[in-house]
Amino acid sequence: MLIQCLNGLVYGALLFSLASGLALMFGLRRIVNFSHGALYMLGAYLGYSIATKLGFWPALVLSALALAGLGALLDAAVFRPLQDRDPLIILLVTFGLALIAEDVVQTIWGNDTHSLAMPALLAGIVELPGSSFPVYRIAIIAFGLLVAGGLSLWLKFSRVGLFVRAASFNPTLAAIQGVDTDRVSLMVVAVGAALAGASGVVAAPILSLAPSMAADILVDSFIVVVVGGLGSLTGAFITALILGQINVLGIVFAPEFTALLPFVIMVGVLIWKPTGLAGNRV
């Protein structure tokens, strides 16, 4: 049971590190980014290629940086020009970008699954009462907590964090105070994309790399963002942890309902509290 709970935390941490970027982007740009899962997938594949030459840690850093650049490009070329258009257009465009990314991955890396070796530093096992647990999986939980803590501190105590919080609540009001909301948005999308890329690399040693990996986790990420409260990091954190437990414990205790349960919870929460659990912005 303890092992299952820990595995739930591992998945919850991964979900949060991916969904946090999605939540930040929605909070600031009011966009539903269907290509976010593709950023995660590209990060994983890029990390795989870099790791084969330079090892895991450079792959983690370089992949996150590359995805940050891609995120900045995405914001400047897609999100900003389309921000005042019908949300359905952005949804369709980002969905199209996700399909393109999947094709690119299939062209470069093929349809076969790949795996990335975990770093030697984290390759051990931790002995627990009655069982054991991989150190790498504990490191993933730590990664999720690090992302949550880092983002919270950044948003709460930095000057840019103040601007992000202001702009996510009322972008026009923030802008007339002198906040360059375009630049802040670019930064946030870049950070969100970097987190997606880093999450892909972090997940790669425990999940298989396949072109379908984007879609697999994207749905759960959207549930995290919607149930948590659109744009809310705190809500996303709580929901990711709950969803992680549901996913893992569901497989053990009610495998026939595991796929269904997150959607049932989402519908229930939205009926009970349409603004989501936290119900406010970043």
Partner: protein, 232 residues
């Protein structure tokens, strides 16, 4: 002398709805000017055009002689214009202190900082960690004005600052605005409360259907004449 703010035949719209139809007026440095007009004539659009919220479709806006060809909300702020918007615009997800710090986003140098705003309004320091919207209406107006001052503006624009305030609070506001003006801040006041206008502004422009239709000195114009311009 080059005016600090100059509107020359400005036309502006929201979407396809044109609101300003050739609005022209000037505000000199150090002046205190009121824009009067009935509800819905485009007074707030005058401000919104300066900040790029309403789309500038014709004419020219000049700030200290420099044309704002494509106004953006943050470009006007960075050029030294600070606005206290109608309804105050206090962000509920920020504390009082954070709302004030947001006002310093432009990092313009000048006499105003957090400490000086706290000296002006000690209640803001006492409630520094409370959510901005937890303050009373009068305190929120202090916060909005304090946030505007944190930008160390050359031009302070106030859109209906007395709205919803008790007369005693409006009196205090008039004292503070006169003090600011005495210290050299240029003030553009959009207001329907003549009691405040008469105490703060020297000159006035009357806006009607998106055009300036009258102007003059407040002191030389009777209350009845001014009242005529703002009667609903």
């Amino acid at each position: 002398m080059t005016p600090l703010l100059h509107y020359d035949a400005v036309e502006a719209c929201y979407g396809h709805a044109q609101i300003l139809h050739g609005t022209s007026f000037s505000v000199d440095k150090g002046a205190s000017v009121a824009i009067l007009g009935r509800n819905g004539v485009g007074k707030t659009t005058v401000v919104n055009t300066l900040f790029g919220i309403a789309r500038l479709t014709g004419g020219t806006i000049r700030l200290a002689g420099k044309p704002l060809t494509r106004p953006r909300p943050y470009s006007a702020a960075r050029a030294g214009v600070s606005v206290v918007i109608q309804g105050r615009g206090i962000l509920q997800n920020l504390t009082v202190r954070e709302n004030l710090l947001l006002g310093a986003a432009t990092r313009r140098r000048g006499p105003w900082n957090l400490q000086r705003v706290y000296e002006l309004y000690p209640v803001l320091q006492e409630r520094a960690d409370a959510p901005g919207t937890a303050l009373s209406g009068g305190q929120q107006q202090m916060l909005a004005l304090g946030r505007g001052l944190m930008a160390n503006p050359d031009l302070l624009v106030l859109d209906e600052p007395s709205e919803g305030l008790a007369p005693v609070i409006v009196d205090e506001l008039a004292v503070v605005l006169n003090r600011l003006r005495a210290e050299g801040t240029t003030i553009l006041l959009i207001e329907q409360n003549l009691s405040l206008v008469e105490r703060v502004a020297e000159d006035f422009f009357v806006l009607s259907k998106g055009r300036i239709v009258d102007q003059g000195k407040i002191a030389a114009t009777g209350r009845a004449e001014l009242q005529k311009h703002i009667a609903i």
